[in-house]
């Protein structure tokens, strides 16, 4: 029992060490994150401007607002995926991790959480920015509704996307044509969840209660569990040549 406890503690320490290193590295190369944020902001700006030009004075419907945001987030994920395994493999630092006494599970989970943190940070800026630029017609959203929207409409899909992103990044790191393979592998994996994510977001922004969106939530959780199981199941194959 004690051995198990100690082992879990040391695994947790390793997980924190890898995560800290990834975050520190990322902060030192802030230009990359800045470019991704700039891409998102420009996309929102162009999308909103073109909508406003056609529909003068009409506030953006929630449906269009949600589709706009998630379309940009999906593209953002591709940029972040490069930072997970692809970049580490190209620089050679991945071998520093795989030659160390660290279990593949710890390595993969730390990458999932790193992807989640990075994606959440970018989403936060993009969503705030799009609320001001796109001015969606949200009327019936109180504090509870907004909290539900953040936790269920944003955090849950982001976690699911982070798992998918880590899986695809690990799968494609040995490919010679990574820039081609990354989106090609990612889209079939995330396509099943695009519709539930959008539907979930629309309903929550319309002020619906959680019981109305249970199906979407369950679908997202099931998808996340499935992807995470695949990730752990193939981890041995993914991280050894």
């Amino acid at each position: 029992m004690n051995t198990k406890k100690n082992s879990a503690k040391s695994e947790l320490k390793l997980f924190i060490t890898i995560l800290q290193k990834d975050i520190k590295s990322e902060i030192r190369q802030f230009n990359d994150i800045f470019s991704i944020i700039l891409f998102g902001i420009i996309s929102i700006f162009i999308f909103s401007s073109s909508y406003n030009t056609i529909n003068l004075g009409v506030r953006m419907p929630i449906e269009i607002f949600v589709i706009q945001i998630w379309m940009i987030i999906f593209f953002t994920l591709i940029f972040i995926m490069i930072k997970l395994f692809v970049q580490e493999k190209e620089k050679g630092t991945l071998y520093g991790l795989t030659s160390a006494p660290v279990s593949n599970g710890v390595l993969l989970i730390s990458k999932v959480i790193f992807c989640f943190i990075l994606l959440s940070f970018i989403e936060l800026i993009l969503i705030l920015f799009s609320f001001f630029i796109s001015i969606p017609s949200i009327q019936a959203l109180n504090f509870n509704g907004f909290f539900n929207y953040i936790m269920i409409g944003i955090v849950l899909p982001t976690l699911d996307l982070s798992i998918c992103g880590t899986l695809v990044s690990a799968l494609s790191m040995y490919s010679k044509n990574k820039s081609f393979v990354l989106p090609l592998l990612l889209f079939p994996i995330i396509l099943p969840i695009t519709s539930p994510i959008i539907s979930l977001n629309i309903k929550l922004l319309e002020g619906e209660i959680i019981s109305i969106v249970v199906i979407e939530i369950l679908f997202l959780i099931a998808h996340a569990i499935l992807m995470f199981s695949i990730l752990i199941f193939v981890s041995e194959e993914l991280l050894s040549e």
């Binding site: 390793l14 795989t98 030659s99 050894s240």
Partner: protein, 237 residues
């Protein structure tokens, strides 16, 4: 190698196959504790594959490796704890400083001690004339300096075996001399077993206790120090 020392590493019929190509073909040898083995061979002979398999970076298609009585199949974590590896690609994070990189790797090997770590790092940095660069990002260092930090990186977690793949590439004459001196010292003082894969025959000749010559994935010759001479080596290429 056969002398009074205990067998430290045993490689038994290790093969690595990529499709129909054998990068290594039934390699068998054993190595004693506290010895230096030079691995040489032409390009594509299988030197890097052998180092990668011994370090656990690549799994062999068949065969077994036993290090300090432990088998990779069952004890890979504890074997990895005892291994320090340098490959032709740097394991250092360019954006982080020397200190941060070393701290990260010592934590990764679960040997980080807040009280003694800085002292340990300073000792090694002084030895390699890098004391002034401790808080400098790796990206600001020259190739030779980076290679020195790589060596400190593998020493920081007190391994019992060093696996070095082309450790002298990109280094000037003086740094190579320094590295040879340090490796010899390490073997003597810290009881390390070292395997060096390189093209630099004269260096290997100078420091190795035994030599493994690979040719197209097979052992062409396994020679002890007294049997090694340059003409003999060249005849096996």
């Amino acid at each position: 190698m056969n002398n009074s020392n205990a067998i430290f590493l045993e490689c038994d019929k290790v093969s690595k196959q990529y499709g129909f190509f054998f990068a290594l073909n039934k390699i068998s040898f054993h190595l004693d504790e506290n010895s230096i083995l030079g691995v040489i061979g032409a390009n594509g002979a299988g030197k890097t594959t052998l180092i990668r398999i011994l370090s656990g970076l690549t799994s062999p298609t068949s065969g077994s490796i036993v290090i300090k009585g432990k088998n990779y199949k069952t004890d890979s974590k504890s074997i990895k704890q005892n291994i320090g590896i340098i490959t032709n690609k740097s394991f250092l994070y360019e954006e982080l400083t020397i200190y941060e990189n070393l701290k990260f790797y010592s934590k990764l090997y679960s040997i980080y001690d807040k009280n003694t770590f800085k002292e340990k790092v300073e000792h090694y940095l002084e030895k390699f004339n890098l004391s002034d660069w401790i808080f400098e990002p790796i990206s600001n260092l020259s190739t030779g300096m980076k290679q020195k930090v790589e060596i400190i990186r593998i020493l920081i977690h007190n391994p019992s075996i060093l696996l070095l793949d082309e450790p002298f590439s990109g280094l000037d004459f003086n740094t190579i001399k320094l590295l040879i001196k340090i490796l010899t010292e390490l073997r003597e003082k810290e009881n390390l077993t070292i395997i060096i894969a390189t093209h630099k025959i004269e260096v290997v000749q100078e420091i190795s206790d035994a030599l493994l010559i690979l040719k197209r994935g097979k052992i062409s010759k396994f020679a002890l120090k007294n049997e090694i001479d340059k003409s003999m080596i060249e005849s096996y290429f």
